[in-house]
């Protein structure tokens, strides 16, 4: 397997903001992709990042980045799973907002909108991690409608919309939906 970082960075630099891109990755490339996006792209460009986490709790991702000494100061989370597992607390910092269930898709849009408003002078990248985790909780038709609203909102803010999908978990109907809502699907080799 080729190194992930150059592939991710070249695609993002080539496409620029407001172009939606799905990185279809294998499990082994997950953390490399994540760190490339957060550290080598967002931090380097001074972008703030809204990370919609459906696969892992925000606290886990934050801890992982911390252990790698990656600056996560400009990283905000829309955490869609910790509430359901009762892992969120009132003491969580204001850089994490919670959605009660990954089935409550409209609230993902609203929480993202809230974070956009909080950082109104900042430029953002929005990462959805992952399409497959959301598909496990939602009908594909519902997901398609959600993606259209989400992408329209992200693009209208001039942010970078990035989707992550897992190669091993990809179902044909989810891939078909992605082809309709994404400007580019990149399979990282």
């Amino acid at each position: 397997m080729e190194e992930v970082a150059p592939q991710v960075l070249s695609r993002l630099n080539e496409l620029g903001p407001a172009v939606s891109i799905d990185f279809n990755i294998g499990v082994e490339a997950y953390f490399d992709t994540l760190t490339t996006l957060v550290d080598r792209f967002c931090n380097k460009k001074g972008l703030s990042c809204i990370y919609i986490s459906v696969t892992m709790p925000a606290s886990t991702i934050r801890s992982a980045l911390q252990s790698l000494e990656i600056d996560a100061e400009k990283l905000r989370f829309v955490d869609c799973i910790s509430f359901a597992t009762m892992e969120c607390s009132a003491n969580d910092d204001d850089r994490t907002v919670f959605v009660e269930s990954p089935t409550m898709l409209e609230y993902i849009v609203l929480k993202m909108e809230y974070l956009f408003r909080k950082g109104k002078d900042e430029q953002f990248m929005v990462i959805l991690d992952s399409v497959n985790s959301l598909a496990a909780h939602n009908e594909v038709r519902m997901l398609y409608e959600f993606m259209q609203v989400l992408m329209a909102s992200v693009k209208s803010r001039g942010a970078y919309p990035v989707l992550l999908s897992m190669e091993e978990q990809m179902k044909p109907d989810v891939l078909e939906m992605l082809q309709l809502v994404c400007d580019q699907i990149v399979t990282l080799k």
């Binding site: 898709l105 809230y114 408003r117």
Partner: protein, 236 residues
């Protein structure tokens, strides 16, 4: 001079202006209704706060909590400084301090209803208010005979129009058959919807005179950055 026919009054609540065709009818009386906990009071507060931020004065008339208690429960809002309340841009009143308190067999008389309208008119005039919130209509309705309530609401509607003050009447409950709904120039309905066991706070514009308003159902969130809405997904 009365408000111009067809003129729009921009609420400053971005998401609301977008779905009501640019704003409420200027000088109109809008009913915001919904069950307990649906966000009606926060809607009214944001309406006044957004106005104050744009330099427009407002009057908030409570028919339930005293103003000091009401202030204690206003959540922290990032879009506006709480000092707006103290700066005089928003005046807090209680309905008990209006009129003379006259009752006939426990009911507000026609004369007392007129006195209340006069005091509301004075409050609007003295503060030069272009926004008013009456929160909520239900306690008053309980104390009024139907015909008195009807006259009160028509007088209030006329007063708002004549004084170019655009008002919100908050109404608790899910029924759309009440007097305030009939007389209002616009109705914004707040409520809840359930989908696959999940509870959603929703908003609909049922009526907005003279406007091509949205008829969709929106999921809403009351945040420290103000009210946010997004179309409710259908998945079909």
């Amino acid at each position: 001079m009365a408000a111009s026919p067809g003129a729009k009054f921009c609420t400053g609540m971005e998401c609301i202006d977008r779905i009501v065709g640019g704003g409420f009818p200027a000088g109109g009386m809008i009913t915001v209704s919904g069950p307990c906990g649906s966000g009606k009071t926060l809607f009214g507060i944001e309406y006044l706060m957004r106005g104050a931020l744009a330099g427009q004065k407002g009057v908030y008339i409570s028919t339930a909590h005293r103003p000091e208690k009401m202030m204690a429960f206003v959540p922290k809002l990032d879009y506006a400084d709480a000092k707006l309340w103290e700066s005089g841009k928003i005046s807090l009143k209680h309905i008990d301090d209006m009129g003379s308190g006259e009752r006939d067999d426990g009911k507000i008389t026609k004369g007392e209803a007129e006195a209340m309208i006069e005091d509301i008119a004075t409050a609007i005039k003295e503060t030069k208010a272009s926004r008013l919130v009456l929160d909520a209509m239900n306690p008053l309705m309980l104390e009024m005979e139907g015909w008195v309530a009807r006259r009160f609401l028509i007088s209030l509607s006329n007063l708002l129009f004549e004084s170019k003050c655009t008002g919100i009447i908050i109404s608790e409950g899910e029924s759309m058959d009440t007097l305030e709904h009939t007389i209002s120039d616009g109705i914004v309905k707040l409520g809840t919807a359930v989908r696959r066991g999940d509870n959603y706070r929703v908003l609909e514009v049922v009526k907005m005179s003279g406007a091509g308003h949205s008829r969709a159902k929106y999921v809403m969130d009351m945040t420290s950055e103000g009210m946010l809405i997004t179309p409710m997904l259908r998945g079909v």
